[in-house]
Amino acid sequence: MSSRIVNWFKFSSPATFYPLAGRLIPWFTAAAVITLGVGLYMSFFVAPTDYKQGEGYRIIFVHVGTAWMSMFIYVVMAAWAGLGLVFNTRVSAMMASALAPTGAMFTFVALWTGALWGKPMWGTWWVWDARLTSELILLFLYLGFIALQSAIDDPRRADRAGAILAIVGVVNIPIIYYSVQWWNTLHQGASVTVSGQSSMETVMLWTMLIMTFGFWFYAIAVVLARVRCIILERERDTTWVRELEGEVQ
């Protein structure tokens, strides 16, 4: 009976997780290529031109997905970090540090595409809107996490210090978000709002969802590849890495 239950802790060891990640990467890469290909085709050729925003609105297919991913990845990162702190599993902490650069990249892309979209639509690259501001703060949180981990030489200490920071950050995110929102409404009447299309056309919505899934698969593939590098780097003195090296040579 017990043999039927999947032992998830089996994959908490770097030696078993490394080959599993290696097997998963091609699948997620393929899924990412297909969904992003289909999504990009749909966003350029299938989705109709917006009657108000013209062709420029198409950048939203990249923008919304990356913004979603940027927030989602921070929560996932904190969850992995918390898991590593609780169960003291090494791979969890490695996953957290592998997620951080991808999350920061998505945050940056979301901000950048938002600026590119804002210039023709609002006539300005940047407004101190609540969402833009909190996305910028999210980028700072990612950079803080990465900076802290890279400043600590001992990887075990880096893992746990980063985990505490990530958890403190996750607790703070709702507070920051609502305070920024309140600050924004108090300072100025909402001259521009980001939430425009509530009655979005179905094709546009599907394109956006497919693009988001594409980003999701991409994130998984990249993070697994990065975590494999981290595993090899940290476990380079163990016998199984030596054996792996022997096989390759």
């Binding site: 400043a151 600590i152 210090a161 958890i167 403190v168 703070n172 920051i176 305070s179």
Partner: protein, 222 residues
């Protein structure tokens, strides 16, 4: 348990009094930063009155970041911190004691100095009063949140800059509500809501920050 807390506060206060120049440095940093803004922006009183709450608050934020580095560093260097970790008393209580002493030494002078700087910017009497109240509620919250960052970066190279990078994003709500209360009062809207939020943040920080800082200290000192 309360005695331990008091003992830590007293010890840290005595230590700080023996090295008064450190405290004064932070206070002068605060004064200089606030005084620089009119030189950069121009002596237009209307503009200055408008930016006063933000400038004073940002300067207080930076000054308290500057002070954080020494919160645990000296005890870490001479080994006293390790002894504290070994005591049977809960570490979060000791952290709370250290943060309290730290705030009394670095935060309270800022609060006392702020009205003088507010007069430089021609703030109204109501504005000055609210500025003092918000700083009184906000600076302990800054010290508490900052303690997490200080504990995480203990003994790292470039810890001072790093601690700012970690802590400043987390202190944004304090800044928003602190400066917002003064601004709301000056513009006649009334800052009670902001002050209540600031008090709520302080209560939350009082409870959670010592726990997180204690966990961080255990990670940093092994």
């Amino acid at each position: 348990m309360f005695e331990t807390f008091l003992a830590i506060v007293k010890r840290d206060l005595i230590l700080a009094m023996r090295r008064r120049s450190d405290v004064l440095t932070i206070l002068f940093f605060f004064v200089i930063v606030v005084s620089l803004f009119p030189l950069g922006i121009g002596p237009e009183m209307n503009t200055l009155r408008l930016i006063a709450p933000g400038v004073v608050w940002v300067a207080a934020l930076l000054a308290s970041m500057l002070a954080l580095e020494r919160l645990f560093a000296i005890d870490y260097a001479d080994g006293a911190l390790e002894q504290m970790l070994l005591t049977p008393q809960p570490l979060s209580l000791l952290v709370l004691g250290k943060v309290t002493a730290h705030w009394l030494v670095t935060g309270v002078p800022l609060v006392l100095m702020a009205p003088v700087l507010g007069i430089q910017y021609d703030l109204s009497l109501d504005g000055l009063r609210v500025l003092v109240i918000t700083l009184l509620l906000g600076t302990p919250a800054l010290s508490l949140i900052g303690a997490i960052g200080a504990a995480l970066t203990l003994g790292l190279r470039g810890g001072g800059v790093l601690v700012s990078l970690l802590v400043l994003p987390l202190t944004i709500p304090v800044l928003i509500f602190g400066a917002g209360a003064v601004e709301a009062t000056v513009s006649g809207l009334g800052g009670e809501g902001h002050i209540s939020m600031l008090a709520a943040i302080l209560v939350m920080a009082l409870f959670f920050a010592p726990l997180a800082a204690a966990a961080a200290l255990r990670v940093s000192v092994e």
